[in-house]
Symmetry: C2
Subunit: 248 residues, 2 copies
DNA sequence: TCAAAAGTGTTCTTATTACACCCATGG
DNA sequence: CCATGGGTGTAATAAGAACACTTTTGA
């Protein structure tokens, strides 16, 4: 089959966009590159796929090697293949994304990663390669996902308050939601278990704590599901950019 | 940069899933391969990406070369990269899809395509490589798309009846819809222009003809949009497989 | 005059929106 | 006693679902 030889001179990588939520805003996990090209620059954790390795497996392995994150569920988003996106030759990259609870995982930089650190999405400046564009595409995907699946499950700690959950939705959708309508909707889904516990040590009325009902959540995933909630008109949010996240 | 040399030994292809609608069911454009591997087998129109060619451009070029289709809008769906999916070596493929009016285009097989022909999706058996899986993934994407965008525009001839439009939706969603509710919904969108013409030569009351209002359609795309309509309970459809198309 | 598909409205139910005040706690 | 965020209900509106008969044509 050597009539194809000229085509077998390219490479592909995987890049992972890992989202977390903390201190009221969305974070993304970045590494500081310790290897050329773009040595010293912040980048998405990604690397070459081995010759005999499936894409999904490669994404998992690379993520683990660079950041110490293991057992993370990764979903393919899109492939980026501009001709000159990599200085070493023709390299296309398959982007993966995931949502995790920041507190559940210890970040441990290694391999070509000098550092690995959570960054506020809003404050991410330029990144190595075309990683800024990849990050943006994955964030759009997340906006779509939050309307199609109860995403808090993946992002919040085991116990959380309804206000925390609402803040998460607001951070992802870049909008503000009406408190009462949000609670009515989310509680009517019966995905939350009221723990009959409350916050302690807060300088205001302590909030009830909830956890996700994993079984009901699985049911939902199985039968399809849609989360829709219009932003409230009461408080207009200057951060808001797009009324409806388009996919992809 | 020759520390990466071992990685630059793979190739990538693009595969196109072109959907059309005719005689009441969904079709996909396939080629009969005139080249090994899988010579003589039906396959999606796809081929290797050139070393200095963007992915999107490659998809367009390859589609044109194999089937004669030019000026088709293609959208990336997903990348397939199982290790042994191609016998010639490590080859991952980026899948693209499109919707076209069958009557608007002349199919002209050439290059490695012995033939190019529309096939009813329901009757597609096995295909070369992992193309059956790719087709299925793209059809799922189409199911999602039809709820997010008024898709008839791309698939129907310039003049069509409301019943034809309804049949299109039913074919994509693999369900049946209530006639009155469908008409109410689709007309309330104000995307259709009533041409004040009727069918001729049909052995029943002739239907009114409509065309899409291209300007309003662009507005809709710009501001986001959602088409939802539950299947009617009156007539249960045995073909129906999944209540809610999941994406991707 | 029959077969075949076109065309048309109403009622019921459910989901969404808008909106304002009192409550519990720590400092 | 004050500042802070927690918690709650209702009325008005809009959207969706169910459902059956009459009309127009060609054969």
């Amino acid at each position: 089959m050597n009539e194809f030889n000229e085509y077998f001179k390219s490479a592909f990588t995987v890049d992972n966009v890992i989202f977390g939520f903390d201190e009221g805003d969305m974070k993304v996990l970045l590494i500081k590159r310790g290897e050329e090209p773009y040595k010293g620059k912040w980048a998405l954790p990604g690397y070459f796929v081995n010759p005999a390795e499936d894409l999904d497996a490669a994404a998992k392995r690379v993520l683990g090697e660079l950041t110490g994150l293991r057992n993370v569920y990764l979903e393919q988003v899109r492939t980026f293949g501009a001709v000159n996106r990599h200085p070493a030759g023709r390299v296309i990259t398959v982007a993966y994304f995931s949502l995790i609870k920041i507190s559940d995982y210890a970040i441990q930089a290694s391999s070509i990663a000098q550092k690995a650190k959570w960054h506020s999405i809003a404050r991410v400046k330029d990144l190595a390669f075309d990683h800024k564009e990849i990050l943006q595409a994955c964030f759009n995907r997340l906006k779509w996902l939050v309307r199609a699946r109860p995403v808090g499950f993946e992002l919040l700690p085991p116990k959380f308050t309804l206000t925390e959950l609402q803040h998460l939705y607001e951070a992802i959708l870049e909008t503000e939601l009406d408190k009462r309508n949000f609670r009515k909707k989310i509680l009517s889904m019966n995905l939350l278990i009221d723990l009959d516990e409350t916050q302690e040590g807060v300088a205001h009325r302590p909030a009830r704590l909830y956890q996700f009902d994993k079984e009901k959540y699985e049911e939902f995933l199985a039968e399809g599901f849609s989360f829709e909630l219009k932003e409230s008109k009461k408080k207009e949010n200057p951060l808001r950019k797009n009324a409806s996240p388009s996919f992809p």
